[in-house]
Chain length 340, copies 2
Amino acid sequence: VTEVEAPATLADLGESGLLRTVFARLARSTPACSRVALGPGDDAAYVRSPGGVLVTTDAMVRGRDWRDAWSSASDVGAKLVAQNLADVSAMGGVGTSLLVSLVAPPSTTVQWLEHLVDGIAEGAARAEVTVAGGDLSSSHGEVSVTVTALGELPAGVHAPVLRSGACPGDVVAVSGELGRSAAGLEVLRRSDSGWYPVPEHASACAQWVGYHCRPDPDHTQGPVAARAGATSLIDISDGLVRDAGRVAAASRVQMRLWSSALSAFVEPVARVLGAESAKQSVWHGGEEHVLLGTFSPESVPPGWTELGQVSAADQRTEQPGQVWLDDALAPAGGWDHFER
Amino acid sequence: VTEVEAPATLADLGESGLLRTVFARLARSTPACSRVALGPGDDAAYVRSPGGVLVTTDAMVRGRDWRDAWSSASDVGAKLVAQNLADVSAMGGVGTSLLVSLVAPPSTTVQWLEHLVDGIAEGAARAEVTVAGGDLSSSHGEVSVTVTALGELPAGVHAPVLRSGACPGDVVAVSGELGRSAAGLEVLRRSDSGWYPVPEHASACAQWVGYHCRPDPDHTQGPVAARAGATSLIDISDGLVRDAGRVAAASRVQMRLWSSALSAFVEPVARVLGAESAKQSVWHGGEEHVLLGTFSPESVPPGWTELGQVSAADQRTEQPGQVWLDDALAPAGGWDHFER
């Protein structure tokens, strides 16, 4: 008779045992020149700061923001760190430290927690930030993880880049590819119905799925954009059209995007998933975490893709905050946590 | 026929409608000289900071950390702010700003969210801190709220006060009353079984319940203790014995508490709830959020109550980190989120 040992749960270790496990895994990845003067284990952490602090928070909920069938605990941890650091980058800043708050039932396996911490530690190490502290709370069954990121303005960046500074005549540009995360999600959804890509598309599909589950946006592009004089900057987390609309509304301007510029992103996805899915992915796909910026025409940073132009709102006929695709209003879409 | 209108839910407003509601309620309570240069609405907030930043996070889960039958949404918001600011105070610091992350199902009523925000705003205004940002995520049904507090060291405090500095010969002292929160919880529990206090105890019971649901610890006592030269400082959130043990372990000393000193807190509770409940409340009651500090004998701040003394660990017979009550090891107890 083989006795199958049940995996250890959070209830088996208790809070202090869990904290020992977590701290040990985090200690391995703390960068050498950490700004965190005092990390986990006291009432609060203490982060050295020369002038100001950027701070942002973002949560992920199991079954809504990720599915265990598609994402490992390590993926979840790494993705949440990437999301938070993308928000710091979208201010022109660089991350310094993270706080992590886990709400999970006592029946959660210790292994799941360990993998979550490993993913957080890996994401943190990649960006040279330190996990400064956190909190563990028990739930009735649902699992949610909240990360708070602290950051600062690097040398050469003297003020955060806001959403409200876009000016008529500015160029709209994006720091990386669009549509990858949504294309990856679409591949996962179709796979659940037995779909699989033809062999020559398998590698693209795997890359999109990889980016969806564990995005690795280039966090250095925020400071690059700030130093180039970006007039506005936002991280694309809820879809291009929705996030461009946020910049347009905050800046009281119109954003005019060119479908010809977007076609470079649409076409490779269309070849694999069809034209409609590709358009949806590029226009409305969330969790891209590349940056959308506005710049005077001569100062778009190298490697960024120009997507369109900022124009003034016609006071008589147009609402400020509108996003146009060529000659028509862009269709509404994108991610809303609560909308029916 | 009267038509009963169903209360509006988060799903009715959608994310941007919710954010407008939240920001409007927060704007009313922002202090005049806020350190938050840029608040909610962009990718990250920006907090002015002269040197270093204290940062801490704490979550509350419905049905585990509060019951809707006992605590209003406003109570929950105010309590979570008080808990986080107590952690900042326990470093010798003062709060500057807060981030709030709410995970709740779309069926949550807008009114509940409004009351939560009002409680957070009230707690923040009382401590003259600003809500700098936050996040809204949808769940399948459970509700959890995570607050992150940022703080700084005030004038005259040059380093955070850690848990690890207690020295043999120091006096152990507490900044306020012990047992109130746990006594309030016990009153609520007994009330559910039909118990009610005799008239002359009703006012004490109401005060304990009030402190349990909406604690208002004096956040200025952390800086007071730091300026007085506290060698260690912790906020009592998981019970006196458990938290004293954390200081003892971090400082590699023994804590020796006197039951004669604790009796001032035990007796008023014992008269209403009996001796056993009173001892449990004072020794092991969590969520007190008064501060436990160690001081050289001549420097205990005015208004603090001396509870005992720090002594060296006898290397041969004693583990460091032990807590004694008179001549015996204090019984284990206190709050653990995950222990069975």
